[in-house]
Subunit: 347 residues, 2 copies
């Protein structure tokens, strides 16, 4: 077992070498599993290393090798469950590759984000993962020359920067189609008026599904929403005051769906008997909602994994098979939707 040492007494390779009676390069070779070390020598060195609990200074290594073994991940915020699996996925892949993850939270401020990018560009890391980057941030990144991968990149249609996104359009389409297949014709959507690319795609998918089914697209049924619980709540209240309210609500995301539930509960409208509700994202709490929410699963773990994998390739100078990856969503059927025929209020 390693001996105990004083707090600030950190051994260097030179000291290990001296104790083991060898030279510094030999210790280095042992540490890096080079083959050109005689077994007895290796043994002796290893023993000293273990005995003294030596761990090599990463800074020296980084300086020498020009790589830090660190990757930066810039997130808009940490207190949102949404980002967790992305982080987890990235961490998994990076961990397997022996790369460590440096976390930067920008608290939704572009300025902070750019500062983050600049801080990162000091080569304290070998590459960068950015979730929901602003347009400006992307420019900074491209200028930096560091490898990077964008997650949920907003805009940047022109840019050829490597990115991973979710097929929001498809998700919106599938959710709506699912409702249509169950006989719903008046389907509301909450979450209009956001600039985020994902949101725009989502509502486009909704409209396309209606259109494909030859259903009218009623502007009254498209509610504003910034993807918060409150927005879902308000929109639902408004929706139910319509002369001809919807029979189903596509909530845009799960948080809004929670608001929809709350409004519906207050109004005494029963889900799914009197109103079908479908969410988007598949956040963890949707399972324990009452009734459990049918929703579109956004593969966030894979988002993180894929982005990290791409970044690793970039860092190692390998080419990317695809620069702009789009990950598919799928519907998770639970108990918040019901065929229209059975709806109490309808017809």
């Amino acid at each position: 077992m390693a001996k105990r040492h004083k707090a600030d007494e950190r051994l260097t390779m030179a000291q290990i070498a001296q104790i083991a009676g060898v030279s510094v390069p030999t210790v280095s070779k042992v540490l890096n599993s080079h083959t050109d070390v005689a077994p007895p020598t290796r043994k002796r060195v290893e023993q000293v290393i273990v005995e003294y609990g030596f761990v090599r200074n990463r800074a020296g290594r980084a300086l020498r090798k020009g790589k830090t073994g660190l990757v930066d991940c810039i997130l808009p915020r940490l207190d949102d469950e949404y980002f967790l699996p992305i982080l987890e996925g990235a961490a998994q892949v990076l961990h397997e590759a022996g790369v460590r993850l440096v976390l930067t939270s920008t608290h939704h401020q572009t300025e902070e984000e750019i500062r983050g990018v600049d801080t990162v560009t000091d080569h304290s890391t070998d590459g960068i993962l950015v979730v929901l980057p602003a347009e400006e941030t992307i420019e900074h990144l491209e200028r930096s020359g560091l490898p990077f991968v964008l997650i949920h990149s907003q805009g940047g249609l022109l840019s050829t920067a490597p990115s991973v996104r979710i097929a929001s359009w498809e998700g919106g389409f599938v959710a709506t189609q699912y409702l249509i297949a169950r006989g719903h014709q008046r389907i509301a959507y909450i979450g209009k008026a956001t600039v985020a690319r994902e949101a725009i795609e989502r509502i486009a998918g909704y409209r396309a599904a209606l259109d494909a089914a030859d259903l009218p697209i009623d502007p009254q049924l498209q509610c504003k929403g910034d993807f918060t619980e409150e927005d879902g709540y308000k929109a639902t209240k408004a929706l139910l005051e319509l002369s001809e309210p919807p029979t189903a609500i596509f909530a845009g995301n799960d948080r809004q769906a929670a608001g929809v539930y709350r409004a519906l509960h207050e109004l005494g409208t029963i889900v799914p008997d009197e109103m079908s509700v479908i969410g988007f994202d598949n956040l963890s709490f949707t399972e324990i909602m009452n009734p459990p929410l049918t929703t579109i699963h956004a593969p966030r773990l894979e988002l993180g994994r894929t982005a990290a994998t791409m970044l690793l390739r970039l860092i190692n100078g390998k080419p990317l098979e695809m620069a702009r990856v789009v990950l598919s969503t799928h519907l998770v059927e639970r108990q918040s939707c019901r065929p229209l025929a059975r709806l109490a209020k309808s017809q």
Copy 2:
């Protein structure tokens, strides 16, 4: 604006110095805002730095200064909302101090955790934050000589290692007391049989409150539970089959409370009219539960902030005012509890 450069062409201070027609130390001084640089010189250097978009290599600096400006945070897992605010709090404080946060997830494996600690001990970071460390991990940490702070340390009563915890006992006591004050006498607790220190304290607080009110402590009302939704569900089912079921359930944590709700809903027992329920942690979804859950708020953000603040002091060689900090909890009253008098089933 910075000119564009080839991807792998990173300027060094030497190059900047040459371009600006000064020596390397001068550039260093400018970068570090030293006062002993003539204004014109400074101006010229700064201009070159901006023009070429130079950012200094952190590894060189780290090597020279013996500090990396990085702090490691080891978490049992990333896919649990519980840990988010802790991380966020730590990130906030660290960010303010210009220190960056390196994330390590151990996936609940002690082995991984120790490996994590060892990896970290390579001085790639200046200090370590460990959430829910195993006993063994603490030993490794103490041996490493690196500054560290424990968050939610399990066990380690003997250890004097710096740590931050939540007053679980107090929380358990307050929750139970709250129920007692509302006339409840048969109060169940879910979450027995865990080794985690926090859990042991929590149930002790529960028992103490009962005891203080001269209420009997019925073993039947103390259910096993590992703090998952499923455990809350099962325990509740069992509880309601008792000849004399409880009138209130202290769910141990919010996740179990969610299970309690589910079981109760299945059985047609209405919260809070027929059963009062109280949680612990104050996770974000408790607000949108139906009815919103009354729970004990565990100050997780402050947990992270406090731990990070302590670690920073340690890193800078300053003494800690307190080595073992305990953060207070408080009750968040919502709508899942009701005075016993009004209970339909009771008496």
